[in-house]
């Protein structure tokens, strides 16, 4: 800093230590609990010296919560959302920034109206939509009384009901959450900062739009993509409300939801050691992603335009 303030500096580090410990305390406590046998974890106060039951508890959590299946589902959902969002939004932003066409502004406004609306505020109708993806077509069909028209033509009773459900499927877990404008907005901002000369040069050399996209835009967007991979993977993995609604089959649910089954209820034996072991397993993948890709993540979160 500017001047020498040894006392204040000492306090700085002390406060930082305390801060790190406070931030870390829930997890430290969870790790200790996950190493203890049931007799110790239900003692009050719980001993703060780690035991040797870590792998036993991990194993118990894994089997009891069926974590293998659910972690796989979480992984599919998180990667699906990540890949889907980045692909859809990159193409969309490319179309909006690099082309001039009649409905460009309309497309832009349509997409950006959804910028901040989280899935939580429109759960019920979105659920109905996912329960029958052809719902809108069905309504139009009914509205036009096409059933009776068809009956008249075919000379016998016709009843058309269109039904295509996304419940309990990976598609249902992924697609509704791909509908978000945030990534498109970020890519648009980034594409606008790309020098005009790049596009002019590419056009001069006779590159088509898609060649320009593949050979120039894609490589220079790598940092942004890396940042979004981290943010969207964490977002997808940590989803709660949507998977809770859309899946009823325990084989199709995600790990964060499944963890609920491991929490001891009032009349159970207090298997908090197993619950904590399960929590550690389920939170590990997104934490690893954030820590390993820390540099891109911080840049992408704070400074998406560069």
């Amino acid at each position: 800093m500017v001047e020498k303030t040894p006392i204040l500096d000492a306090f700085t580090y002390i406060f930082l230590m305390v801060g790190i410990i406070i931030v870390g305390s829930p997890i430290i406590y969870a790790i200790i609990a996950a190493t203890l046998p049931i007799e110790d974890v239900s003692r009050v106060p719980m001993p703060l010296i780690p035991g040797d039951q870590f792998w036993v508890n991990m194993r118990a959590a894994w089997d009891k919560g069926d974590l293998g299946t659910q972690l796989f589902n979480s992984f599919i959902m998180a990667s699906g959302i990540t890949i889907g969002k980045i692909t859809v939004s990159m193409l969309g932003a490319f179309s909006i920034v690099y082309f001039d066409y009649r409905f460009r502004t309309l497309a832009f406004v349509t997409v950006f109206c959804t910028l901040m609306l989280p899935v939580e505020v429109r759960i019920l109708p979105t659920y109905e939509m996912a329960a029958n993806l052809f719902g809108p077509l069905q309504s139009i069909w009914d509205l036009l009384h096409l059933n009776s028209v068809m009956s008249w033509f075919a000379n016998h009773e016709v009843d058309v009901s269109l039904n295509f459900s996304l419940l309990d499927s990976y598609g249902g877990l992924i697609f509704p959450l791909v509908a978000s404008a945030t990534c498109t907005f970020l890519f648009r901002q980034f594409f606008l900062t790309v020098p005009e000369e790049l596009c002019e040069a590419a056009k001069m050399d006779g590159a088509s739009a898609m060649t320009f996209f593949r050979k120039i835009l894609l490589p220079i967007s790598k940092t942004n993509m890396a940042a979004l991979v981290v943010i969207e993977f964490v977002y997808g993995w940590n989803q709660y409300l949507w998977p809770l609604l859309i899946t009823t089959n325990p084989k199709m649910t995600t790990a964060v939801i499944g963890l609920q089954n491991l929490i001891p209820q009032a009349d159970d034996l207090p298997f908090w050691n197993v619950a904590m072991a399960g929590a550690l397993i389920v939170m590990a993948p997104p934490i690893l992603v954030v820590l390993l890709m820390q540099r891109w993540f911080v840049k992408g979160l704070v400074d998406p335009e560069k």
């Binding site: 800093m1 001047e3 204040l8 930082l16 801060g19 790190i20 931030v23 997890i27 406590y29 859809v88 939004s89 969309g92 179309s95 909006i96 082309f99 001039d100 409905f103 497309a107 349509t110 997409v111 901040m116 609306l117 989280p118 939580e120 505020v121 429109r122 019920l124 109708p125 979105t126 939509m129 993806l133 697609f175 509908a179 606008l192 596009c199 002019e200 739009a209 898609m210 320009f212 940590n238 709660y240 409300l241 809770l244 964060v256 939801i257 929490i263 207090p270 908090w272 619950a275 929590a279 389920v282 997104p286 934490i287 992603v289 954030v290 820590l291 820390q294 911080v298 979160l301 704070v302």
Partner: protein, 296 residues
């Protein structure tokens, strides 16, 4: 905004934007319209007949003492959560910005809770603050004679969900404040210290005012987080209880719609929340535009 040099192609731009429009319309516009439609209807208990009732659902909603209670609870909850996580994040970021050594280590140690799901954060804190097994309840009782019981007492439950929700948000705020502070020109700080301003004075007179755009943005994001994403915390930890003491609006939409099957009311509640978000977004964009003008 658009580029000066653009590609000319008749079909390609439509093809490129098509997936985005398709998912947006299917999973956003149609459900939103459906919700709006439903909020003006009352359906009978078997879901066979719908009656158009204009704004009766909304009127009933704002006359319902349970809903008004939930509004108050949500406001308290999000204000406290935002305050705790922002002040904690700001404090730690200020300290970390002063530290000259171990910067990377400090950042790593503070950043990881961002990746923890709200629901899992809830489970961790539920255990830490558990009335019969948690260490905090015991310490409070032994040292202060205070009976801590978030399972039965509304206030205690509220404190528990606030802590669980604020905890993971501290790292998000920390990242933004760190970046904001690093963007403040060092010459300003140096000039102030030449003039004899103490570190505390410099924080209040220079750092904090220059951090105000960040502070504003972070506040908006924290409030949105507290309003919506904390569903997982509430669902794992209290289920809105005890006695509705932590029944925030998002949880009420879920309860009334999916558990109580009161579709009209649930849809009306969704519409209220949607309008709220739109209002916040508009406000934020207005502010962001002003900020752009300031910086030229």
């Amino acid at each position: 905004m658009i580029k000066r040099s653009v590609f000319t192609n008749r079909k390609l731009p439509y093809l490129l934007i098509l997936p985005q429009i398709l998912v947006t319309v299917t999973f956003f516009y149609w459900p939103a319209a459906q919700g709006l439609f439903q909020s003006l209807m009352i359906s009978d208990p078997f879901g066979l007949h719908n009656t158009f009732v204009w704004f009766d659902n909304f009127i009933a909603l704002f006359k319902d003492p349970l809903y008004l209670k939930s509004v108050v609870i949500t406001l308290t909850f999000s204000a406290c959560t935002a305050f705790v996580s922002i002040s904690m994040g700001l404090f730690i970021a200020t300290m970390a910005n002063r530290a000259l050594r171990f910067k990377a280590f400090i950042r790593t140690m503070l950043i990881w809770p961002y990746a923890v799901a709200p629901a899992i954060s809830g489970i961790l804190w539920l255990f830490l603050l558990h009335p019969s097994y948690g260490v905090v309840a015991l310490a409070l009782k032994r040292w202060f004679g205070f009976e801590w019981n978030p399972v039965l007492v509304g206030h205690d439950a509220m404190i528990m969900v606030i802590l669980a929700s604020a905890w993971k948000q501290v790292s998000y705020n920390f990242v933004f404040f760190m970046a904001g502070m690093q963007a403040i020109p060092h010459s300003l700080i140096e000039a102030a210290s030449m003039d004899g301003a103490s570190p505390f004075r410099r924080f209040w007179a220079i750092t904090l005012p220059l951090l105000s755009p960040t502070l504003f943005f972070v506040t908006v994001m924290n409030i949105i987080y507290a309003f919506f994403e904390t569903f997982g915390v509430i669902h794992t930890v209290t289920q809105g209880g005890p006695g509705g003491a932590t029944n925030i609006l998002v949880y009420k939409v879920y309860q009334d719609g999916f558990i109580g099957l009161n579709l009209g009311s649930s849809a009306a509640q969704s519409i209220v929340l949607m309008s709220l978000i739109i209002l916040i977004t508009v406000l934020q964009f207005k502010y962001v535009e002003r900020k752009v003008q300031y910086t030229g």
